[in-house]
Symmetry: C2
Subunit: 422 residues, 2 copies
């Protein structure tokens, strides 16, 4: 289940003349798919015999022909797999909902195996009435269903120093999007009763890392959910079963899993994960703190290094994902020539607030090399920047919040590679 992509530092230079070496155009071998029917297909084996009956697979799983569509980790990236990440295979998915079995994982002490009967959530600190909830207590409360993207702050973080990992799964796969079911945190805080000086919360997980993060009260009272379901069923163990925080649009490290405690205070706690980690070290040695929002971002998922073009030219669908922690995606532009010329992509399916949005760009490929890029704009008018524009402001010490424009080089063979342009 481990894959070790080879670092890749090729950099494509696009001069004023915009000259890319153009390979000879391949013959367009039938632009429209579908071939004339000369003879009807043979009757295959699966049409001749009874298959498995119902409920033999009481909980279903994918076809064995899809065994390559899995979460993968990169062993050289972290010292142990208990404190590591596995990536969503975004190159092999479509639409804007992630199936639960493929949502990326990021653990700090492995997957806590929580018994929901014994699990408790405590709210204490600057409240009138400290409360302890069982799961039954929580699941009796009013609830809402909302789809949100969840993105690790470190998603695409390797790319700060140039094209590193050869695959959208590895460069951008620390993101997923499911429909959450949960109760507004505001409701729990109202039940406990906030003291006048209650300004911050500490969320604590029940894993062996006892993950903790400080959350400002304004966000907590706005749209934070205490969620127990994803895509209709109970949370998966690796995603926080039986209950987690959902902090819409903000970095996933704050979405504390296996949530067991909410402390109410008057200032942030400055724990490990908001000081030595999840801050942004600038070129001058200062660190930006509390950079919670995940800004607008996009990536072309196909074609991409793990999803090459497997036809010799002609009609081609380019597919990708866009999202913004500040609201809805307003539009996505696509470039085939490394950012010199841009065209509007087609947004498809629901365009939700703070959720993954699918885009497509359909074109006739002449078989020449391409430098593919996508650029998202959100409803606030924020435009996804180039990596170089980010580096000019933030230097190259950063790990987190790398939302620069990604470039894929497509060879005449259809093979795709992660590259940089400047």
């Amino acid at each position: 289940m481990t894959d070790t992509p080879i670092p890749n530092r090729r950099r494509f230079l696009i001069g004023a003349g915009g000259a890319l070496v153009a390979a000879p155009a391949l013959a367009n071998s039938g632009a429209s798919p579908g071939n004339p029917a000369n003879q009807p297909p043979k009757v295959p084996e699966w049409s001749q015999f009874l298959g498995d009956g119902v409920a033999v697979r009481a909980y279903g799983k994918p076809s064995e022909h899809e065994a390559h569509v899995i979460r993968r980790d990169v062993q050289w990236l972290t010292a142990s797999r208990e404190s590591s990440v596995s990536f969503t295979p975004i190159h092999a998915l479509d639409g804007s909902i992630t199936p639960n079995g493929l949502c990326f994982e990021r653990h700090h002490a492995g997957i806590a195996e929580v018994d929901p009967v014994d699990h408790r959530l405590m709210i204490h600190g600057l409240v009138d009435k400290p409360l302890i909830f069982t799961m039954e207590d929580l699941m009796r409360l009013p609830r809402v269903n909302v789809p949100y993207f969840c993105e690790c702050a470190a998603n695409s973080g390797m790319e700060w120093r140039g094209a590193q990992l050869n695959g959208a799964q590895f460069t951008h796969g620390m993101v997923h999007c499911v429909m959450y079911t949960g109760t507004p945190l505001r409701l729990l805080l109202e039940m406990a009763g906030l003291k006048p000086n209650a300004e911050w919360l500490l969320l604590e997980g029940a894993d062996a890392a006892a993950m903790t993060r400080s959350v400002p009260m304004q966000k907590a009272l706005d749209d934070v959910l205490i969620a127990w379901r994803m895509n209709g069923e109970m949370l998966r163990p690796e995603n926080g079963y039986p209950v987690r925080a959902v902090i819409p649009g903000w970095e996933a490290n704050m979405w504390v899993k296996w949530l067991r405690r909410i402390a109410v205070g008057d200032r942030p706690w400055y724990h490990r994960e908001e000081t030595s980690k999840y801050t942004d070290l600038m070129a001058d040695g200062n660190a930006r703190k509390f950079t919670f929002v995940m800004d607008a971002k996009s990536v072309i998922t196909s074609p991409s290094p793990q999803a090459p073009i497997n036809h010799a030219g002609g009609f081609t669908v380019l597919s990708g994902l866009a999202w913004s922690g500040r609201g809805r995606i307003a539009g996505v532009d696509v470039s085939l020539d490394g950012g010199r010329n841009w065209q509007h992509a087609r947004l498809d399916g629901p365009v939700w607030d703070k959720a993954l949005t699918r885009f497509y760009f359909e074109f006739d490929w002449d078989g020449r090399p391409l430098l593919l890029q996508s650029r998202a704009t959100d409803e606030t008018g924020y435009v996804q920047p180039t990596k170089d524009a980010l580096r000019a402001v933030r230097g190259e010490n950063s790990i987190y919040h790398q939302n620069g424009i990604q470039t894929w080089h497509v060879a005449p063979s259809g093979e795709v590679e992660n590259v940089e342009v400047s």
Copy 2:
């Protein structure tokens, strides 16, 4: 994986006085969940040890504590499990997206295990240019992502003759709702070129039943999809991998799975599944044919027989699903007294066209018996009828298209039973 609910023919009579025997109201044992914190919880085992690392579960699955949330069949309902049904556990889900592993199954010759490399889809008949598509050909085409409900025409069919099966999973679980990815059938037909007299299609599956259904051209050119994905990943084998028809709002038998052939003709084929089956036998011996649309319907999923109330009274959330094959759900009303008084439910989450819509009704339960009902209205103004109103028009010979109002009896103990009121 098999469950055999006991048939239940209790019928509750509500006279003009509306007298239900009222049990003594139970003491309201703490209307608001959450108990005062006397002492912090003990540190549980899962907080003391490292759990599994990332990608140990490269394709994830639910917690072992959720092992009861599975598809179930009813063995006495059909002669063999290869031609049978398993039901979505709607009583144990929430929101409006069904996880792929729990989507109901209905097979006529078991699950066809199709190799996508060898699979072909042929279009022939009254076309200018017969075509054969490989999966690669299909997956090169422009595509859309749309959530739709899929409901078997026989869903709730046992209820024609009174309350039969004790569980929402069994009475209403032949429905699911996922986001499909596919190409409009219209596009394929345009590529083949329709002859002037092309009025009907025959869709044929690659299973050993060679399932066939006739589809009118007007629908085919409207919103039918040739789909290869559900909730982002490739279709599951039991749901038609690698390609199926999606016929929005129409009975699921027409959504041919493992789709291998589309014949274009000038009239319907009148095959087995649209004559001896999937027609509606009326009281006078005539049969209604081509009753394709699934009319507006709803069901309370919790409380329900498999999801009893497990508190002694106080704040209670009633949760349910509504859907219509004619468009969006406009509203849902809920009755606590068998249809005498109605109150508006709260629609929650996305209200999509021809998709499941979640509704909630929050109330303070006084611990007395309840007769719970829900009644959906769709955007055309159609109102879900009572079972008796349906029977007055259609007689009691029918199997299919039973969309009458469902009643659950809640006892003071919180136990729930499938009953009829009249």
